[in-house]
Symmetry: C2
Subunit: 373 residues, 2 copies
């Protein structure tokens, strides 16, 4: 199911995927041609509860992979309207899924995309969702403390808490995939047909760091490192993203169980990635910009990620080949890059700074809290 | 400022405060007569961002005491619409305050009413907002893990996280008062004039436990204990609630500081309170009902509450006199009690059980995510 919000937001922020994205009809046709399978789409907004109920009743899913969230931290930090849109969209959409499942299919497995950013950068090791704490002579296993760093990351923490409670209260079963930063542009499936290509975002709003560095290198723009580049994060290849979801689906939790998998394969600092791209793309230069985010430039970071490995994940580690292939695909679509979009132009400390946005987006959200059925 | 939502909800759930509540005009007039002070009301919904900005600009507050949240756990558990209303109302209202302050008055002190229920019932001592954790040889002070037990409690956790981030990101200053369960019916101020009386809720939706037991005793209804009554919680006298807010206001945090006070004075189990009421009201009987909530009936509970004591709080501990005076006020208004409202009729595990509600409430929330200004 899809409400095409990402295409609308491209218009709003004046950006586009590096790789052209076909219409949903063309993509479903291409998938049918390549595999013989017929996908049945539902086009509506997940904040519409009645349509959510209708879909569940009609499709009778064994599992739901829930990606229907506004997913860019910088977008949520543009101003009040974008913060509210992000939190209302994500929280209400997830509450609708929770209630629709509790009412109609409590045994359905809800796979929810979280983010490693829910944890922030604590000075102790990050565990997978829960941590054993001994305090004043007593011990308990408690939810890992969260320190999200944007209104987007906060919306993910809100949803994780809502789902954890729903599993306990309604006996739902759910896997929360706290994903690291994704890089890469293709999977085995998207390579079957050009029409199946997935988004490759490189801009300062939706682009992830390695993709953005690769684009900057190819178009001759300095690689823009925020602050000193000491920010360290868990990362993974886009092929591993898909494999992790498959592993979660084929190994469902028990009824009433809420479990968290940390979904990343390696840890890199932003500075390390810039130097790696620079080494592979002769002539690339690195520019250190004032950090528009409120985050630590140098910090401890180490996270556990054994749950998915134990279930059979075989990581694609970041190789030079992966980065070189990214350069190739970028060269191929070079004319589609909007150079002014590769810089950050959202200052997280201001309450409204991106003046060239198109207004009017938010009429979409007025039904978020309607009565539904 | 007020949107009178509580009066609307009384109509919806077919209940009313035991003590009659006058109109806001009458109450403001009575306060003027009693003290010479003139209160200036703003009547609008806090989910309206433009009006929130206008109010801050007009009033120029040194501090904001933010009580504008849907505050009943059972109400949030009625069905999907009430869960969504509670979370959207509370999260959007708080985001509006955050952005209005960040934009216009970042130095203003935001005093936010949280709840001890954010912590749940962990098997270790509950600290005030943060806990030092030593893990695999490293140590950090992190937000105390949250285990909220209803969509209302979850909304409070969401708001606490949003405010903590806003203090860091926008350099706001805020005190989060994690309040226990309040009992009692009057303060020195409300006693100045009958028109100043505050609500005394006793029903299964908004009534707090000791108030409800006292009403049940007086009208000859069994005291309804959920489960075995082993649920232990922090509690406080309504007079101490007001004093705690005063202490927070007169001892503001530093710019950028987010601090948490646990606002309760004593710990009681539900069963202890029932027995205490029974002892003071001869003839009262205790009835043990199936617990409509998903919570542990017997558990460890101990929480720290030293911050407010260190700043000068002198608690009114629960005395027999307080309970006997509650009986008196209830006798006085006995004809206003709706007997069928003293039982719980919301089963938290169901997705929609309270069939006698008036529909239509939720049109109010459609503007929650409007563009504002």
């Amino acid at each position: 199911m899809d409400n095409f919000s990402r295409r609308t937001i491209d218009d709003e922020i004046g950006s586009q995927s590096l790789v052209p994205i076909r219409t949903l009809r063309e993509r479903i046709d291409a998938w049918h041609k390549a595999t013989g399978q017929t996908l049945r789409p539902y086009v509506f907004d997940l904040t519409d509860y009645k349509k959510t109920l209708d879909m569940i009743e009609d499709f009778q899913p064994d599992a739901i992979v829930h990606f229907a969230e506004q997913r860019a931290a910088p977008y949520s930090m543009i101003d009040r309207d974008h913060a509210v849109y992000t939190q209302v969209n994500n929280v209400v959409g997830t509450l609708n899924v929770i209630y629709a499942l509790a009412r109609l299919m409590p045994d359905c497995h809800l796979v929810k995309l979280g983010t490693m950013g829910e944890y922030g950068t604590p000075n102790i090791d990050i565990e997978e969702g829960f941590i054993e704490i001994t305090h004043k002579g007593r011990t308990d296993v408690l939810p890992y403390p969260k320190q999200p760093g944007s209104f987007y990351h906060l919306s993910k923490v809100h949803d994780s808490h809502n789902i954890m409670f729903a599993c306990m209260n309604f006996r739902l079963r759910s896997t929360d995939l706290n994903q690291g930063i994704v890089y890469g542009h293709a999977t085995d499936e998207t390579r079957l047909d050009d029409a199946l290509a997935t988004r490759f975002d490189y801009d300062g709003v939706y682009g992830t760091v390695l993709n953005r560095f690769a684009v900057q290198a190819v178009i001759g723009h300095p690689l823009t490192v925020y602050g000193k580049g000491g920010q360290t994060r868990g990362m993974l290849d886009i092929r591993d993203t898909l494999r992790c979801i498959e592993i979660a689906l084929t190994n469902p939790p028990e009824p009433g169980e809420y479990r968290v998998f940390n979904q990343f394969t390696e840890e890199f600092s932003v500075g390390d990635l810039a130097h790696r791209v620079q080494r592979l793309y002769p002539g690339a230069v690195i520019e250190y910009l004032p950090n528009p985010r409120t985050e630590m430039n140098e910090h401890y970071f180490h996270a556990v990620n054994t749950h998915l490995l134990d279930l059979g994940l075989e990581p694609h580690f970041l190789s030079d080949e992966v980065i070189l292939e990214m350069f190739e695909i970028i060269e191929h679509h070079r004319e589609r890059v909007v150079p002014e979009n590769v810089n950050p132009d959202i200052d997280w400390r201001q309450t409204g700074t991106k003046s060239h946005l198109w207004p009017g987006l938010f009429d979409r959200t007025s039904k978020a809290s309607g009565r539904g059925s």
